[in-house]
Amino acid sequence: MRKVLFYVPLVAFLALTLFLLSGLFSDPRERESASLNKALPDFALADLMQPKKIWTPEKLKGETYLLNVWGTWCPTCNAELGYLAELRKQGVKIVGLYYELPRDPTFDAPFNLAVLQQDVQQKLTQQGDPYQFNMLDIKRSLSLDLGVSGAPETFIIDANGIVRAHHIGDINPVVWRSKLAPLYQQWRTP
């Protein structure tokens, strides 16, 4: 028994090497969104501006659209608002998923919808408003289910409510033309 014990480190190390070896030949950066080519996870989120209105996946079906995760606190999101607004003028339907930051109960003011609405209104007036409407993901549950790792991120959702593409980072003319526009076209005409 005692003899075997001294080989434990070797065995553990060899097991580790196996993992490292297989890790070597797979790309760590390839991070497929787990939700890709699946229906949107189930949700019921309030409209940011008309909180009485509740959005569910059912209500969103019927048309291909971009689901854009953003927040006024996120500089890159604010920067892309202008270009997204242009896309809206070109007829692209964009739905905003407002990502509310977690709050520290000690330091941050409690959540206040009126203040947030005002913030958002102001930002959208300043930078341009790309959104048909915004859903408020106050608990970040939908963002979490979708595998959002930061903002901005954009999903292409087809008419049947299936997630077809996931883009991390901002949308600018180059990204749109080279990556997202072809996908959008592809899934708009099924």
Binding site: R2, K3, L5, F6, Y7, P9, L10, F13, L14, L16, T17, F19, L20, L21, S22, G23, L24, F25, S26, P28, R29, R31, E32, A34, W73, P75, F107, Q126, S149
Partner: protein
């Protein structure tokens, strides 16, 4: 021409390392004294040529020789000269050469300071170091040559050094870190040599201790500098990110810390032998695993060098040979080694055993947290990531019992300790700690049952206990005055390092609890108040640096109307790399940092700024510095330089073989 000389020098390093790997080891098995004696000159030669190679590379960087691919990709003619020097080890290729140089340096140091060792052991240690060195030099020479030219087509200007690396902390961070990583190779070589001969006694432990301490010293400094760099350079005031590569440096540190404690037991009591040897192997093994993780692209991290599976594969095979081979040897040899020493449940041995258990648990947590995403993915379970909350929570739970034991440890005697005699001094220490923690907190903030209070209590407990223990020991010499010169340097070192840990704990707890952070929108002339400090934006103007442009903001800080300081924050745009960097303005005091970073320009000429007041954040690095100083003091201990047994042991060593 100079570059070719560098290439040639590196080739010589390779040849010498091969000789160093073969000749003395051969000598050790054939009892050939002349072969064993060759180890030393070979080690010196290896170091000399490694130095020439590195110098040639630095020369190429400083002379903007863009025909060298490495220079073209990591430097530019507009880069200030001191960053041109550091750019020479900013890339994968250059840092590998630095690694080789450091290893050659350690090997030469061992050759120089091992006169007291038996010739046989000396030859084996140097031979093993040569073997490791040969692996790395071959890697540098064949897989990632820093001297490759791109002739005949070469760029007229380089791509510049990554702006993140253009910082003073970055000048010092990699060399220190590598000194630490590579330094554990020495302890590793000692362990292997001991496994080969089957001799692990107190003498062996005493030989290893200073080397392990020195490596640990550098690793501590390296990690501390890295944290300080991240704080200054990444622009949001964080100081530890649980990034895979940070973790890769933290794991050998944790094991190294366990090692220097376990070595104490082996030296003083001749026990914990198999444990100590395993730790010595593990510390270097984890350094190698770290090098693999950074350079293979298996994990995604801000630190990662460009991905190349060929290099990864080489390192993995190397890892397998070195670590696998040594663990195999460990398994074969170690089961015959027995420790005879006996000790009671309440003894210093047991407490140090506890120390090791906690440190290794910490290491295991970091290991699993870092590699779990990889395991998960390779088992086909999909991608996941493990973030700060996991590590923070785990370390929170671990550090409480660890700190409690740490306060107790130095008081307890070897073999056995009666409980009663310790009750009085320790309860006094506990009361003093309570009083100080509450006093400090109530004078600065309100006293609440939170992390800060816990950190203060633990920190005060460890710190005061360490101080009181020294006073007690000094008294045992008769009077404190007499004792001061009599107490071992290593005892002072231990105390200082323990105080460093206390300082670190306090710093972390206070910063985590009481950091105030606000993102504000400011026009020139606007004032924002954060944690009682009034920040007034006085000016924003365009910057024009050597290789960057951008904007700078000037702020005045007042507290209760009193002028505190002037702050200068920059948002740099590096022209060649086309990246934006935040140069935060930091006003540092022992009790708090004011930290301002310039975010982006808003419509209407306003600017977004992030203002933070971070109490005690300095203490985190101060703690690290104290630990390193403690190690330095311990290294100065006289007993590591005794030369009495030299001649007998040399003769005996050769006769053994």
């Amino acid at each position: 021409m100079i570059v070719e000389a560098g290439q040639l020098a590196l080739t010589f390093v390779f040849a010498l390392s091969l000789l160093l790997a073969v000749v003395p080891l051969l000598g050790s098995f054939t009892a050939n004294q002349r072969l064993l004696l060759l180890a030393k000159p070979l080690a010196f030669g290896q170091f000399a040529f490694a130095l020439v190679a590195m110098a040639a590379l630095v020369y190429a960087f400083c002379n903007n020789d863009f025909t060298v691919i490495n220079v073209a990709q990591n430097s530019s003619s507009t880069l200030p000269w001191y960053y041109q020097v550091t750019a020479s080890f900013g890339s994968h290729e250059g840092s590998m050469l630095l690694w080789v140089l450091m290893l050659a340096f350690w090997t030469a140091l061992v050759a120089q300071f091992s006169k007291a060792l038996p010739l046989l052991l000396q030859g084996r240690i140097l031979g093993i170091l040569g073997l490791i060195s040969a692996g790395f030099v071959a890697f540098s020479l064949f897989m990632s040559n820093p001297f490759l030219r791109s002739l005949p087509f070469f760029p007229v200007e380089g791509r510049d050094l990554n702006p993140l690396l253009q910082d003073f902390g970055m000048i010092m961070h990699p060399p220190m870190l590598y000194m630490g990583y590579v330094g554990f190779a020495v302890a590793f070589a000692f362990a292997i040599a001991a496994l080969m001969s089957g001799r692990f006694d107190s003498v062996w432990a005493r030989w290893v201790r200073p080397w392990a301490l020195a490596a640990w010293l550098f690793l501590t400094l390296g990690i501390m500098l890295g944290s300080w760099w991240a704080y200054n350079e990444l622009g949001w005031g964080g100081w530890w990110f649980w990034d895979p590569v940070e973790n890769a440096s933290f794991m050998p540190w944790l094991v190294g810390t366990a090692l220097i404690h376990s070595l104490a037991v082996t030296e003083k009591r001749g026990t914990f032998k198999s444990w100590t040897v395993l730790l010595a192997l593990a510390a270097f093994a984890l350094s190698l695993v770290g090098a693999f993780l950074v350079r293979s692209g298996v994990l995604v991290s801000v630190h990662s060098f460009a991905t190349d599976p060929g290099r990864g594969l080489y390192l993995l095979v190397f890892l397998l040979l070195v670590v696998g081979g040594s663990l195999l040897l460990y398994g074969r040899r170690m089961n015959s080694v027995r420790s005879q020493a006996r000790y009671q449940l309440f003894s210093r041995e047991m407490l140090l055993w506890g120390n090791n258990i906690f440190l290794l648990t910490a290491c295991l947590i970091v290991f699993l947290g870092t590699l779990f995403p990889l395991f998960h993915k390779e088992l086909g379970l999909g991608s996941i990531s493990i973030g700060e909350p996991f590590f923070n929570q785990m370390f929170y739970y671990l550090s409480i019992p660890f700190a409690l034991l740490l306060g107790l440890g130095p008081w307890v005697r070897w073999k056995q300790q009666q409980v009663m005699p310790l009750m009085r001094p320790l309860s006094l220490v506990a009361i003093a700690a309570l009083a100080i923690a509450l006093g400090v907190l109530s004078s600065m903030q309100s006293v609440q049952a939170n992390l800060a209070l816990l950190g203060m209590l633990l920190g005060a407990w460890v710190g005061i206990s360490a101080l009181a223990e020294v006073v007690l020991r000094l008294r045992q010499f008769g009077s404190i005055g007499k004792g001061i010169t009599k107490l071992n340097a290593s005892h002072y070192g231990m105390t200082l390092a323990h105080i460093g840990f206390a300082v670190l704990v306090i710093g972390v707890a206070m910063t985590k609890t009481y950091t105030t952070e606000r993102d504000v929108r400011m026009l020139e002339g606007d004032t924002a108040t954060v944690a009682g400090y009034e920040f007034t934006l006085t000016d924003v103007y365009d910057l024009n640096g050597a290789n960057y442009g951008g904007q700078a903001a000037e702020l005045d800080v007042r507290q209760n109307g009193q002028f505190v300081t002037h702050l200068h924050a920059e948002k740099r745009f590096y022209r060649i790399q086309r990246t934006v960097m935040t140069e935060s303005a930091v006003h540092a005091r022992l009790s708090r940092d004011l930290y301002v970073s310039l975010a982006e320009e808003l419509p209407g000429g306003a600017w977004a700024l992030r203002i933070q007041v971070k109490p005690f954040v300095r203490w985190i690095w101060l703690g690290g510095l104290l630990m390193a100083l403690g190690a330095l003091l311990a290294l100065a201990d006289k007993r590591y330089r005794r030369k009495t047994t030299t001649t007998d042991a040399t003769v005996a060593g050769v006769a053994d073989a």
